[in-house]
Symmetry: none
Subunit: 249 residues, 2 copies
DNA sequence: AATAAAACTGCATAAAACAGCATAAAAACT
DNA sequence: AGTTTTTATGCTGTTTTATGCAGTTTTATT
């Protein structure tokens, strides 16, 4: 087998699998690992593959493309935020959960928007505070360290006493069978009452969370009014969610 | 599975769930926990994740800590903070007001201190959150934009229901005749009830605020147990405050 | 304060990378 | 054709890297 052939074969395999291991290549083409190593070295030097210990990765390998922006998945979250904002009208009272998507929403709020935001998420509150025209109401209680959100009976009681126009939930998992679910019991309780206290409920999720589930159930799909992802509302991945009278945005 | 693959997988999981546990990763990728630990270590060193005991957190979960605008009189406030901390013992319940001096206090808390902190000041809460051994309780209510602190009937009622070991007040004005005073009516109300709810009250003030007064009175000197400034307790400027059974620190 | 889980340390090992050499085939040149 | 040069490949021994394991220390939780 000629050198060029071999290298072409390697590139081909990389296109298919996004990864190859030296040992496997050596085996499948019946050449020594040294030869493979030298092939990979050349391909890497001419920038066609990414060489790593034990093999090579395709250029399209996520880390090197996506990871140029420091916050993973930030663009997606900003798209979601923009869509979510279209639901907020002046003088509305808005309840928000925690999570990075919600923080992105908080950061993206247009300056001229005038509304009341209620939340127990410290980072979100901080963002709301920096906004010129937004009234901020804090849900008090004990803070859960890892999610930086207030949780507990007081928080739940306070949320129950509310009746807000719309509630934005940053969700961790959603699928047709289980509905919205989470892996933190306290946070799940909080989200449950948030849903009850809101006229409209919007779930915010990057598409990677679609069709996943976690141990603690929050609500069935029927309770949601909007599902907002970074995808086009007509994307086929969202098809199963259409029949549940959820508005896809 | 190649190392980079694994690390990319970890980042991907983090993107979805915001946090991952080492044990789960180790299980799901069939490698030892040591390997995972080393992966997380590398990712943390290159600043792609935040390593915590038992796993790792997504970066986007701490990026709101970039709040380092210069503080007026920072050195003095740090000195005050150090003195104030000497009053806090393990397992105490501490109530704090807002203000930059209090935030300096929050930042200076020693890692090994184990206590419960209660506050309605968002910046202070954020600092408490980043401390490993401190339980944080948030006083909820409407936020006063300029002081980033919760104010209102709910906050006052909640504080009244407390009985804390010690209360730290960042104060705006103090003099012998009027006692502690302030220029914000809401904040003053809040501080009044804080004082009532605490066994001991410590007032924190840089020396510039000594012997000044403002329109709204909070309490007479008699209600204070400690007065903490950046000055030496024997400084002559503090002489008038000694006879009021206040401990100068 | 006691306990269990996780992190670290140092070591062992296997796999992979590397450097240098040998060789054989291919290419280039006389 | 014969010689030299270049290129490609494999081999040997050494170095580096990746990973797991055992024992200890640290951290979190109750």
């Amino acid at each position: 087998m000629l050198k060029k052939e071999r290298q072409a074969h390697i590139l081909h395999q990389l296109n298919i699998h996004n990864r190859v291991s030296s040992s496997w290549l050596s085996e499948s083409m019946q050449v020594s690992e040294d030869t493979i190593r030298r092939d990979l070295q050349e391909l890497a030097e001419s920038g066609k593959v990414i060489k790593v210990h034990g093999g090579a990765l395709s250029l399209s390998f996520s880390e090197f493309n996506i990871n140029n922006n420091p916050v993973y998945g930030k663009d997606e979250k900003q798209r979601i935020a923009r869509k979510a904002i279209s639901l907020i009208k002046n003088n509305m009272v808005v309840l928000t959960s925690g999570g990075t998507t919600i923080i992105e929403l908080a950061k993206s709020l247009p300056r001229e928007l005038k509304a009341t935001f209620i939340s127990g998420s410290i980072p979100a509150i901080l963002e709301y505070c920096n906004h010129p025209n937004i009234d901020v109401i804090v849900i008090g209680d004990k803070i859960s360290k890892n999610s930086k959100i207030t949780i507990g009976a007081d928080a739940i009681a306070k949320i129950k006493s509310l009746r807000v126009d719309i509630c934005f939930l940053g969700i961790n998992a959603i699928d047709v069978q289980h509905g919205v679910s989470d892996d933190d019991w306290d946070v799940a309780q909080l989200k449950k009452v948030m849903i009850e206290s809101a006229q409209k409920v919007a779930a915010l999720a990057i598409s990677e969370k679609i069709d996943t589930f976690q141990p603690i159930s929050i609500c069935p799909l029927q309770n949601l009014d909007y599902l907002i992802t970074e995808l086009d509302p007509d994307d086929e991945r969202l098809e199963p969610y259409k029949k549940n009278s959820i508005t896809l945005i």
